[in-house]
């Protein structure tokens, strides 16, 4: 019987990583994900792992990059400003085709934002590639502590399976929300040895690995890298799309949300149903590969879509693209926030409450 613990999303991420056989963490403090490096600094030494607090996020990502090149399961975690600093390193990780996991506990941007409050304003950066070079990362968006724990294990498996970077995207609300988590070790299919890793010739039967760049590896012809990656990305698109639907079979309005907004949207769907409005929810779990086909089918069946995101409008672009103009797409974005107490000192700058989503639903039905 697996242990059950009351933990927040950040701790669930850290524990999930350890259950995913990750023993190496290189990071730097930044609100609102400090619980992750703090947990790792306590627990990794106990299991023979390594915690290094680097001098900056830029340094962390290069430590992750070389750890991946060395064939170890490595990770870092950060928040939006730190994630921006990591873009060059991420581009290099993509070029080298090495597996790693980076957690971005999103916060409001741009710039310093509100210093650590919630927001979902990194969607485009995370899914479209904030670094140079037309690469893709797999992006997982958990929406509960249990999913944080489970998806970290999935992340390390997918990273190793496809030799890509996997990004796990949460936010302040998911990171600091505490729920009961079942600490279960997930099983995955076995994967081949990493014979391409840098370990020292003696550990690989005398074979050596020389890595300079992708162009170098692909015989001096960069397009071959892209051709190869196109095949990899297509395999991922065919196999790894994940999403959840909730009460959408007979719905007349389909809510579209991920992460913390999906929590609020689910509640709003229940509240609407209680009033007799047939509302359902489509929740993408992989933001890349985006569940275009499934979304298009569901949206066309339902006939009307309301995107709910704590952003001026990023997810909505992907949704509009997926439905190809066949279905009206509405947006309840960041302007849907309000602070019930009207006091910015305590509430940050408001939240999109289920009550507001319900109000919007009523207006659309």
């Amino acid at each position: 019987m697996a242990e059950r613990l009351l933990i927040d999303g950040n701790e669930a991420i850290a524990r999930g990583a350890i259950y995913g056989d990750c023993k190496y963490f290189f990071g730097y403090p930044i609100t609102p994900q400090n619980e992750i490096p703090e947990f790792m600094s306590r627990e990794l030494p106990k299991i023979g792992g390594v915690y290094v607090q680097s001098e900056s996020e830029a340094a962390s990502v290069y430590m992750v990059y070389v750890g991946a090149l060395a064939g170890a399961r490595v990770m870092t975690s950060t928040s939006s400003p730190g994630f921006s600093l990591m873009q060059e390193g991420i581009s290099y990780i993509a070029e080298a085709e090495v597996p790693a996991v980076i957690v971005n506990v999103m916060r409001m941007g741009p710039g310093i934002g509100t210093g650590g409050q919630h927001g979902q304003t990194d969607y485009r950066q995370v899914t479209k590639g904030g670094g140079h070079g037309a690469y893709h990362c797999i992006v997982l968006a958990p929406y509960s502590s249990q999913e944080c724990f489970d998806y970290m294990q999935l992340a390390f498996h997918l990273a190793d399976k496809y030799r890509v970077l996997v990004l796990v995207l949460t936010d302040f609300i998911i990171g600091r929300m505490a729920e009961v988590v079942e600490l279960r070790k997930l099983g995955f299919e076995p994967l081949p040895e990493k014979d391409w890793a840098l370990k020292g010739k003696a550990f690989k039967g005398g074979r050596r690995r020389c890595y300079v760049s992708a162009a170098f590896s692909y015989g001096g012809v960069p397009p071959r890298y892209y051709q190869h990656m196109a095949e990899v990305y297509q395999k991922i698109r065919d196999t790894e799309v994940r999403y959840e639907t909730y009460r959408d079979e007979d719905a007349v309005l389909l809510l579209l949300a991920y992460g913390s907004s999906a929590r609020m949207a689910k509640r709003a769907a229940d509240m609407a149903r209680a009033e007799g409005c047939r509302v359902g929810l489509f929740r993408p779990v992989t933001l890349w590969p985006f569940p275009e086909d499934a979304l298009c089918q569901a949206a066309r069946r339902v006939g009307k879509v309301l995107v709910v995101e704590d952003s001026p409008g990023e997810l909505v672009e992907d949704v509009k693209f997926a439905v190809q103009g066949k279905v009206p797409v509405h947006l309840l974005g960041i302007w849907g926030r309000y602070t019930p107490q009207g006091d910015i000192m305590t509430g940050g700058s408001g939240i999109i409450y289920p009550e507001k989503i319900l109000q919007e639903i009523r207006g659309l039905i």
């Binding site: 059950r4 009351l6 927040d8 609100t31 609102p32 509100t114 210093g115 650590g116 409050q117 609300i173 600091r176 929300m177 505490a178 729920e179 009961v180 913390s260 929590r263 609020m264 689910k266 509640r267 709003a268 229940d270 019930p340 107490q341 009207g342 006091d343 000192m345 305590t346 509430g347 940050g348 939240i351 409450y353 289920p354 009550e355």
Partner: protein, 185 residues
């Protein structure tokens, strides 16, 4: 009246144990509820800045961690009244610390229960224990959770410091007595 779901917002000033109070409730709850959730609201780690947390206890799945209006609000610092008066559902209650209270509440559709947690704790020798008194009062009034579960959680948290544990349990029980004496709903 046994309800399937309770939610409560606890608010005060950083350093008072606002988050701890919420933690005590949520850690005790799995013994009684299928689903529990706790979420704090603060940014920089600072004493003196307002902070609050939300606790939700339910037999049904909990989707939204954020509630516009809760069944109850525990105001541990009187300065927070104005900001949180509107956060209670009609028919709910506000546990209001009276120490330093200057504002008057306006709503007539909620019950406002005065609480002198700071004074009670001060009499016991340390104002910091006020959060235990507030915890006891909340549990006594709402009956959201059986007191023995809370006491078990307090023991687990403070078990290693016998004097602190004893003191906290005493304050909790005092608050519980005061809360149980209140007739609400």
């Amino acid at each position: 009246m046994v309800r399937k779901r309770y939610d409560v917002i606890i608010t005060g000033i950083g350093g008072m144990g606002v988050l701890l109070t919420g933690e005590m409730i949520v850690r005790s709850a799995p013994a009684q509820y299928k689903n529990v959730l706790w979420i704090p609201n603060y940014t920089t780690a600072q004493r003196g800045a307002p902070c609050d947390c939300i606790v939700i206890l339910s037999d049904e799945e909990i989707y939204s961690p954020l509630v516009d209006q809760a069944d109850a609000v525990v105001v541990m610092a009187a300065s927070q009244l104005k900001a949180f008066e509107g956060r209670v559902k009609p028919g709910g209650f506000i546990l209001l610390e009276t120490y330093g209270l200057e504002d008057k509440w306006e709503r007539e559709d909620v019950k406002v229960i005065p609480m002198s947690a700071i004074e009670t704790a001060a009499k016991g020798g340390d104002r910091l224990g006020a959060n235990m008194v507030a915890l006891g009062m909340y549990v006594g009034i709402s009956k959201a959770i059986a007191p023995e579960h809370i006491e078990k959680t307090i023991e687990e948290k403070f078990g290693r410091k016998r004097k602190v544990l004893h003191h906290n349990l005493e304050l909790f029980r005092e608050g519980l007595k005061m809360g149980t004496a209140e007739k609400v709903i």
